[in-house]
Symmetry: C2
Subunit: 439 residues, 2 copies
């Protein structure tokens, strides 16, 4: 079975853990059996593997998330990269062309599309398999998963089936309604449209060629930035007469707000923290090195990261976005394909950053025009290249790079560096990349 | 008038702003007319100056607080240093001997003793002056200020006056009672004992010589660590038949818990922070560089510092101590006589610290046995001395000091340095001091 995992939007609703760079699906918040924490994307990827070892997963995502995807899922995961955000129809068209033209997947093969962020259990993946089987048999052009609604939500579109059978023909699609209309839909037997569906690969390729002028994957990828922003529901699903829907009654939760996310947490506290006995329904998610102490709170979530600190009533936490939009500061931490960084200190003419390189990884070979840099190696070992000179480095070494000098570092073991940038105009834009020198 | 300001105990009740090193009186929390913030000790010192320009203030404090005192009040303030904590009687005896033997204050001069931490207004200092005048006239050996009680507190000792006049003879002293007993005292006209009193210098010197075998200030200071811990109330006040009490009805608040401290705050938020409209009676005191966002909270204080984050219901905040006692981490920031430091990052074999030296200040000339250090100068200019070699330094300079090398730095302007310590056994104890070299 082929699965396209849609790994979408940067979001601020889970600030300070999500920011312009880190989307919610990368926050490590779910405890695994080994006691470590994994993110939504890791959890879903591992769950798919458990249910179907042979499942071929392709992550469809934007350029900005590729580093995080590789960092969390490894280098081997198949990624279809969108050069810019164009909504779900272009994304699914691109990923479908990628499977056909790059991976050689035959047009008759069923493909299942699902977003990366719902919180689900094993039964969901069993249902995905069934969805793929229905598509393989050609029972319908498009086969949707319809989530049994638990309340008249205004957040979802609705699918109204023709009958009450587990698998039914689709009568009609409805866009996000108000609560009263949602109640009416539910009385008619409507299901939530969770954006999960299956099709034979050739079906979406045909639709893509109908709506977009392109030759093949490479061509589509090249003109991706010029495509109209349009959702798959609007461009394809709502117009398709030959579609079915399969009911799903298992766990399926959107963990898009602190309120829903903390419901899925198994523990009161992730990271350093304490709550006293007078606390009730309090959750702490703390990514800082110092402790959080909560006393006498009720229905509150506290989250701390290098970006800032949120203390919110759980209900109120869904209204966070306009406030976070007001916060104007540089990105304070990020995951990269090679590791991660965290801003430790910023002054007018300096920036102090902790850089962690994963074993076997390296930075680009690059230079800066308007800043000097110093690397203080605090742990691990590796090699630096500065203006072509290769040197072994280890904890305690200090490397000096004046503006203009070309430099990179390779980690032989995990390598931690305190990087200090000196200059009047420190900017992430001030970076020239060069071809990596031969070692 | 001579005033002895008692600057006492390190406290954890205002964690994370107070810690083992920083006592609550040094937290900068009160907005001045210029828009800057001052601490309790600064506020009281400035208030005294406003009421009486000629007041001679001596701060009686322990060794550990001397740096902070000079840092906040300047180098010229008179400080009587206790080599260890010995309770109030030895502290007042030492400060009295200091005034007499070191400052040459005549025995007939009145001295007023008051703790540094109550939150008071100008009328309090007018009252202190009156207290001093009463002592000067010799109306009684000891003249107390009695605070008009506002509720039957269990936190204070009580003074029961003989009559209801503004100044009355003391009938008796009572130790901290339970609430019911406190109510009885108040019905008898009792006043809170705030530890504020005046005497003629010779009176306490006589008492000191009666109870302690010493020659003069130098002798007393030398044997200070061997003295019994005993309070002034117990050793002197409660036994003195010839004492008076003066009623005080003005503002006098103990800001020893977050609940009382935030009551005295003029603003909702000190430092970077936001509260949404659904918040009610919420205060933020944030010493970090990143923002705190509060949503839908009621009666809550949020405080963040390099030590950690407190989120507490205001009532509950007085029960903080046992929880803070459980937190076992190194001191993350401190004020020093020469400036301040803040821990930015700690790993097993490294420590990254931001050091700020105030203009004209310098570190000790010192070395470490078991760690190397690197100084990355990020702003300002000054001079370094490493193994006797003097060198001018400025932003962008990097200085390397291997274990064993003797080093110091002098700030010509404000100087900021990122210090990185490398080693397996990094400890504050690993420090040898040497005589400062001639420049």
């Amino acid at each position: 079975m082929h699965i396209i995992l849609l790994s979408g939007g940067s979001g601020k609703r889970l600030w300070p853990l999500s920011n312009d760079i880190r989307s919610k699906q990368f926050i490590k918040i779910f405890k695994t059996q080994t006691g470590e924490y994994e993110s939504m994307v890791q959890r879903m990827y591992h769950q798919i593997r458990e249910v179907d070892q042979d499942a071929a997963v392709t992550v469809a995502t934007s350029k900005t998330q590729v580093s995080s995807i590789h960092n969390q899922l490894g280098d081997k995961v198949s990624v279809c990269v969108e050069s810019s955000r164009r909504d779900t129809f272009p994304a699914i068209a691109l990923a479908s062309a990628y499977l056909h033209d790059e991976k050689g997947v035959p047009g008759e093969e069923p493909v299942v599309v699902c977003p990366v962020d719902p919180y689900v259990e094993k039964d969901y993946f069993e249902a995905l398999k069934k969805l793929g089987e229905i598509a393989r048999c050609g029972e319908a052009k498009l086969v949707f998963m319809g989530m049994e609604p638990t309340y008249p939500s205004e957040k979802y579109g609705y699918i109204i089936p023709e009958d009450a059978n587990t698998v039914s023909r689709v009568a009609t699609f409805k866009e996000k309604p108000d609560a009263r209309t949602a109640e009416q839909y539910i009385r008619q037997g409507a299901l939530w449209n969770g954006g999960v569906f299956a099709y034979q690969l050739k079906y979406v390729l045909e639709k893509a060629h109908e709506l977009i002028d392109f030759r093949d994957y490479q061509d589509l990828a090249a003109k991706y930035g010029t495509l109209d922003k349009i959702s798959f529901d609007y461009a394809v699903a709502e117009k398709e007469k030959d579609s079915k829907v399969m009911r799903f009654q298992g766990q399926w939760k959107d963990l898009g707000t602190w309120n829903t996310l903390t419901e899925a947490m198994e523990e009161t506290c992730i990271g350093k923290g304490m709550v006293n006995q007078a606390c009730e329904n309090v959750h702490i998610v703390n990514e800082l090195d110092v402790p959080v102490l909560c006393m006498g709170l009720k229905d509150v979530v506290v989250s701390a990261s290098p970006e800032g600190i949120l203390v919110s009533d759980k209900e109120q936490s869904s209204y966070i976005k306009p406030f976070v939009d007001k916060i104007d500061q540089q990105v304070m931490f990020a995951e990269k394909s090679w590791g991660s960084f965290r801003v430790l200190d910023a002054t007018e003419e300096s920036l102090t950053i902790k850089v962690t390189l994963n074993p076997g990884n390296k930075m680009n070979y690059h230079s800066h025009e308007r800043r000097d840099e110093v690397w203080n190696v605090i742990s691990g070992c590796g090699r630096s290249i500065i203006d072509g000179q290769v040197r072994s480095i280890k904890a305690g070494d200090v490397l000096d790079m004046k503006a203009g000098s070309r430099h990179t570092v390779l980690a032989d073991t995990e390598l931690k560096i305190i990087e200090i940038q000196f200059g009047k105009e420190i900017s992430v834009q001030d970076k020239q990349k060069f071809e990596f020198p031969a070692l």
